[in-house]
């Protein structure tokens, strides 16, 4: 296995997902047209690994299924738990691997994880300027913009400008802290719980924790109607 969970398109990100899609949707026929060089290379390496007995086809399929099972919902569950259980939050910030294990999430051995907490004083945002390291085991497949040269180069030099384009205006007195995932650690942002969510269940809280809130390019928001209702003390209809 590669030492980093980079996303260069050679690690099945773009393959083998069709079985999770709407079976009635029109599907790309992967057998049509000539295979591109990466497909040829992937197939050759895969077949050699199987032939030489290093991996079995079942192991490869199991790994693809594992990756497919990861989505931002997993990260959202972790955030919602941290919002409702201060002791869990403390453990998550101190030892992310162990805290995730409590929730039955095994992050494997490819990378270590760290959780960085947004506070009234600090807003965190994640990037990998060298490639596209991403906390896949908590958030699933990264969005294409995360892998773009524009995001990777601009967010380190002008984070406030980039965040502004995402609709996140960081107040002047809040420090912006960029985390460049340059090595063997993957980062996830623990966003701040928004006001107006008092008494919410974990499940309801998780529903407002989007992928981007855990990258740091969004802030969890409660729907405007709900916000207006909360502001009006629950009287608005």
């Amino acid at each position: 296995m590669a030492s980093h969970d980079h996303d260069h398109g050679h690690d099945h990100d773009d393959h083998g997902h069709d079985h999770h899609h709407d079976p009635h949707a029109p599907q790309k026929d992967h057998d049509s047209g000539p295979a591109d060089p990466h497909e040829v290379l992937e197939r050759a390496v895969r077949e050699l690994l199987i032939e030489k007995g290093i991996l079995t086809a079942n192991e490869i399929n199991a790994q693809i299924d594992l990756m497919d099972s990861r989505s931002p919902a997993l990260g959202a569950k972790v955030v919602a738990r941290a919002w409702t259980d201060p002791a869990f939050k403390e453990r998550l910030l101190k030892d992310t691997r162990a805290a995730l294990a409590e929730l039955g999430i095994d992050i494997g051995t490819l990378a270590e994880f760290r959780t960085v907490e947004n506070t009234p004083e600090t807003h965190n945002v994640i990037v990998c300027t060298l490639c596209s390291c991403y906390p896949k085991l908590l958030l699933g497949i990264p969005p294409s913009w995360y892998k773009s040269t524009a995001y990777r180069s601009r967010v380190v030099v002008d984070p406030r400008g980039v965040l502004d384009e995402f609709g996140v205006e960081v107040p002047e007195d809040v420090e912006v802290r960029v985390h460049d995932s340059t090595a063997d650690l993957r980062y996830i942002v623990l966003p701040m719980r928004p006001p107006g969510t008092e008494g919410w269940t974990e499940r309801r809280l998780a529903s407002i924790v989007t992928r981007d809130t855990m990258i740091g390019t969004a802030i969890p928001k409660i729907a405007e109607k709900k916000a207006a209702r909360a502001a009006a003390g629950g009287k608005a209809s």
Partner: protein, 102 residues
């Protein structure tokens, strides 16, 4: 790559001021160019990990290298940084790339 027991004495401790080396390098390297020659402060020892500069070429990557989290002031990285002066950037840097700074 999982963290391994730090079996060597880390050369730096949290709070130490360091400068990123500017030596030339060929091939795979996980020290970003934009941080070379820049100074920051060690905030954490992240553990020891196999050396990516050797792993990339199918070597075992041993001995493992101590990995540090280094915090930089954005204004120290980019002379024309236009954000808030308190803004910071953190990156994980392997020990061979860190130079002590008075």
């Amino acid at each position: 790559m999982s963290s391994e027991t730090v079996h060597m004495q880390p050369r730096f401790q949290p709070g130490d001021r360091v400068t990123i080396d500017t030596r030339p390098v060929l091939g795979h390297c996980r020290t970003p160019w934009y941080l070379r020659g820049k100074s920051g402060v060690v905030t954490e020892i992240q553990g020891a990990f196999r050396d990516p500069e050797r792993l990339a070429y199918h070597r075992p990557g041993l001995p493992s290298q101590v990995l540090y989290k280094v915090r930089f002031a954005q204004t120290d990285i980019w002379p024309s940084y236009s954000g808030h002066p308190a803004d910071q950037l953190e990156a994980d840097i392997y020990e061979p790339w860190l130079l002590p700074r008075a």
